[in-house]
């Protein structure tokens, strides 16, 4: 039957919101941190056989990230889309994703990127794994399955850790793990012509609607504004030696060197 790997992906906004966030192909993109997770999933299935399902939660305008992932090589896409999911924070998102993943059983692995390009919390992967009750390793740099056991490597704080996990398991994939492939034209043609996106709403899930969306979100984004960094340029004067000494003194004063 082969492996079934579910990769959770997100469309992230690339343009700073002015009047609220509208995610579409012109203002958003597939989270770059999800690409290595997709790459590992697709190449594992290419080698061992099986299916890669991509799952994303968001409005219908986000479906393009699923198409893009299927063009890259994923076999099928599921979009969890429901107006009642609006304003979900990471806990509510994880709750909804876990409920959707339960609809995609049986699965062997669930992959996430380590974080997202836009909100950067890194919470959704671990929280979802907890809700699914699967073992979890974060920041994985390589993984392989042998005798129904998953062996993974993880590099953190200058240490390399090796783990052995039973399946099903969840992993967040470190961005340095692998260079994701470029999308081939033939893949785009295939994704749009022969692969379909399955759309789920909250009514398809076994879930208490009070646990997702605004009601299920203990945290709230109060405002979002663009940060502009002030930069200034100053020309030092004097002879070259004087300029060098002044420069060293300034760097010392800033605490960058002793």
């Amino acid at each position: 039957m082969g492996l079934h790997i579910i990769v959770c992906i997100k469309s992230v906004v690339t343009k700073a919101p002015e009047n609220g966030i509208v995610r579409s192909a012109d203002t958003a993109e597939l989270n770059p941190f999800d690409r290595p997770a997709l790459e590992i999933a697709i190449s594992m299935v290419e080698e061992q056989g099986g299916t890669v399902t991509v799952l994303s939660m968001g409005p219908p305008s986000c479906a393009f990230v699923l198409n893009e992932s299927m063009a890259m090589g994923a076999d099928r896409g599921t979009l969890l889309s429901d107006a009642r999911l609006a304003d979900s924070d990471t806990l509510a998102t994880s709750t909804a994703l876990a409920a959707a993943i339960k609809k995609l059983v049986p699965f062997d692995l669930v992959f996430f990127g380590t974080r997202t390009h836009d909100s950067d919390t890194g919470q959704v992967g671990p929280q979802t794994a907890v809700l699914l009750g699967t073992p979890l390793v974060t920041g994985v740099t390589s993984c392989e399955i042998k005798d129904n056991l998953l062996r993974v490597d993880r590099k953190i704080d200058g240490f390399r850790e090796e783990y052995e996990l039973s399946l099903p398991a969840a992993l967040t994939i470190h961005p340095s793990a692998v260079k994701p492939r470029y999308i081939p034209l033939g893949g785009i043609e295939e994704a749009f012509n022969t692969k379909e996106i399955n759309v789920l709403t909250l009514d398809d899930l076994e879930i208490n609607v009070e646990t997702v969306g605004n009601a299920g979100s203990p945290t709230r984004v109060i405002s979002m504004t663009k940060v502009t960094r002030e930069r200034s340029c100053e020309f030092l004067t004097g002879t070259t030696d004087e300029q060098a000494e002044e420069l060293v003194a300034r760097i010392k004063k800033s605490g960058l060197i002793d």
Binding site: E68, Y182, I183, I188, E189, A191
Partner: protein
């Protein structure tokens, strides 16, 4: 502009742009200076389907429509005109005639390797004494049993220095005038197939444009595409398709020139303000943006007509004429906006200026295009 495109077309643009910006953009200036054909990039493009954009899937291609083809050419040309040229010529005038007029056997023999970029194709029509006057070619292919003996001197062959196969237009019946021209596929490595020196050109320098000469070259009779005497018809049909690609290439180069110019106009300070505040610069940017968009619309219209199976010959000729002339003007304005820096090889607009110039010459000069278009207009209102 994006509103005209389908979600699939937009996915093509995003993915090709991502590849081009990451892999080609950093070396585009360098390969131009070194006049180097970047095999490492070509190999990657082959795996991504860029060499068989419209070839059917069962023959190793991506099986896409003309819109996706023009978007791909536009995006490659936006970062590197020479590679845009390599890909458009390979797809439109090398692969297309074999697909449209070749036998099943011929398609299976050549298309899969061409579509995967494992072999590079070229188109040999132009000769030292026959350019715009295609019917004036002097090459001969004389049937001798199971093969043709081909003698040809083909000039300015795009991809010539790296081509594995070249479509050679030659006279099979020297007494039949236009109807005596045929097209055969000549393969590199055949005795008598000689590749000349790479031309030292003004632009498109990383494309190895060269002459290809055939001296008593024995080309098997089964390499004839279509029937004897159909050569000119096949060539002109291939050029109808090719022109859409050249027009897309011209749009891509101009788009790059526009983007560079707008960025520069925002940064460059003169008289205490960025030069984008000056009306004369604004006027140039407005004209550039408007003309790029107009040309792009013409290219897309020609592509849509072709995808709908409608007559697109006039539309592609108009798109090629307008886009190539526009590209020359827009890249010229880009140099002007950049001032002395624009004339320096330190800035990319100098390369765009050189690359754009030839789009008015190859695959039919602007003058020939005006003749073709005028003929269509006159016959419409007869």
């Amino acid at each position: 502009m994006n509103t005209l495109l389908t979600e699939k077309n937009r996915a093509v643009r995003r993915s090709v742009r991502a590849f081009c910006e990451r892999e080609i953009m950093p070396i585009a200036g360098e390969i131009d200076r070194e006049a180097r054909f970047p095999w490492e990039i070509v190999e990657m493009m082959g795996k991504l389907g860029y060499f068989g954009i419209q070839a059917p899937k069962n023959l190793g291609g991506a099986g896409m429509d003309t819109m996706s083809y023009v978007i791909t050419i536009e995006e490659i040309s936006r970062v590197c005109g020479s590679l845009g040229l390599c890909v458009t010529v390979h797809n439109s005038v090398a692969i297309y005639p074999i697909l449209a007029f070749g036998t099943e056997e011929q398609k299976e023999r050549w298309i899969p390797q061409l579509a995967r970029g494992e072999k590079i194709g070229a188109f040999g029509l132009t000769e030292p004494n026959a350019g715009s006057d295609a019917a004036g070619i002097e090459a001969t292919a004389i049937r001798n049993g199971d093969h043709f003996v081909v003698n040809a001197n083909k000039a300015f062959v795009t991809n010539g220095g790296v081509a594995d196969i070249c479509l050679i237009f030659a006279r099979t019946d020297p007494n039949a005038g236009r109807r005596g021209i045929s097209v055969v596929v000549a393969e590199r490595g055949t005795p008598g197939f000689v590749v000349g020196d790479v031309e030292d050109l003004c632009g498109m320098r990383s494309n190895p444009v060269s002459s290809i000469r055939l001296y008593d070259c024995k080309v098997p009779a089964e390499n004839l595409i279509g029937k004897e005497g159909m050569g000119l018809q096949i060539g002109l049909m291939a050029l109808d398709t090719g022109r859409i690609g050249i027009a897309a290439q011209a749009v891509g180069i101009a788009q790059a020139a526009l983007e560079e110019s707008a960025r520069y106009a925002n940064q460059r300070q003169q008289f205490g303000v960025s030069i984008g505040h000056h009306q004369s610069i604004q006027a140039m940017l407005a004209d550039m943006a408007t003309q790029v968009e107009a040309a792009q619309l013409m290219v897309y219209r020609a592509a849509i007509l072709r995808d709908q199976g409608k007559s697109f010959s006039q539309a592609s000729a108009m798109a090629k004429l307008y886009a190539s002339e526009m590209s020359s003007k827009v890249t010229d304005m880009a140099v002007q906006i950049h001032g002395a820096y624009g004339y320096s090889k330190a800035y990319a607009v100098e390369r765009y200026y050189r690359d754009a110039r030839v789009t008015r010459i190859y695959e039919g000069t602007s003058e020939i295009h005006r003749m073709v278009i005028a003929k269509g207009v006159l016959s419409e209102y007869k």
